[in-house]
Symmetry: C2
Subunit: 213 residues, 2 copies
């Protein structure tokens, strides 16, 4: 793996949010605007469709030197030779994923609360997805918004990189960063935008300007 891990601006695919536009084009524009990491995540696509989309995303992210992370599925990660996997609390345990992926691939885990964080074997984990930061329409059943208080609560427990996720946009990204996030994730704000490149560029500027360290 030669792609550097950089969670500054993490864009996540979603065919519904993309409203019929080619996701390769949308994600390509996000990268042009400053996205540093891409997650293949699409609950509406079958595994076979995700694989087909992933092959194209892998070509794009490699050409752009940006990490590609698969949501949930370790097999898809291996099949695509992607850079890592993102696991929710209901997915394969991180230690099982680590055994399958080897020491170099990136493993991210969702931990929205200190209790969820406490249940994670952090020796297997490279970053945490912490959210939902604000109300969001992209992820059904993601729980109540945790806000900057929630980010700060997990920040106090760990030095692992934290990506704030859920309902982030230009107006609240700085708040998440000041609470201790190392980067922000965006689905709707970027993938749903009429101009994904311009929005990514604006978000990236906010994140870069409000970084604590």
């Amino acid at each position: 793996m030669t792609v550097a891990f950089d969670p500054t601006l993490y864009v996540i695919t979603d065919s519904r949010v993309a409203r019929g536009r080619d996701q390769i084009d949308v994600i390509g524009r996000a990268i042009a605007g400053g996205a540093t990491m891409v997650q293949l995540r699409d609950k509406d696509l079958s595994a076979r469709e995700q694989y087909a989309l992933g092959v194209r995303l892998r070509d794009l992210t490699r050409a752009s030197n940006v990490a590609l992370i698969c949501n949930d599925r370790v097999d898809l990660t291996l099949a695509l030779d992607a850079d890592g996997v993102h696991l929710g609390q209901d997915d394969l345990p991180p230690e099982v994923a680590r055994a399958l992926l080897g020491p170099h691939r990136i493993i991210g885990v969702s931990a929205g609360t200190p209790a969820e964080f406490a249940a994670v074997d952090i020796t297997c984990v490279d970053y945490l997805g912490v959210g939902p930061f604000a109300a969001t329409g992209s992820k059904g059943g993601a729980g109540a918004a945790i806000g900057s208080t929630g980010i700060a609560a997990v920040r106090r427990l760990t030095s692992l990189p934290i990506v704030a996720i859920g309902g982030l946009h230009r107006e609240n990204a700085a708040e998440a960063m000041r609470a201790g996030a190392n980067g922000i994730a965006a689905i709707a704000a970027i993938v749903g935008a009429d101009d994904p490149e311009a929005v990514a560029r604006a978000l990236r500027a906010v994140v870069d300007a409000s970084r604590l360290r």
Copy 2:
């Protein structure tokens, strides 16, 4: 892998059909009655729950010298060191699964029609699941029943082992075998039975007596 491939009587887990009973107990009884192969398949369980159930199923099937096959997920297959994977038409392509699983694990593919069979790269496949044989309540959206005509239609195209699946029970298993199946799969008939061992024994007797070759 030391477990022989034997698709004679293939029992498939289903927590809903098991009606709250411990699936390890139910499957153990099915094996005692003559089941030759087990599939971990449960659309109601998360990947983490499937993994936990799979660890226990793996111990059971190893102790019984019966193959354990995971539905859909190649990563679960690898994590459990299971004997193989069963792939539907929407899952990862068989050739991708073969690359991840190596040459010795079992790969089964669902192919209910000659058209679905024609789309399969059979050089990567160890057996075909052909169905639904009859009307079934266990698999929603499995398509119209294909009956013995449907089994025979795929049989004419290949010498691969065929497992008839979907709505099979003691009264129609012989018909499926005479149409060219090498074995039958059962969810409801066995897992839903009050006495899984007795039903498995009866089904096994029918299959053994009606085998073409």
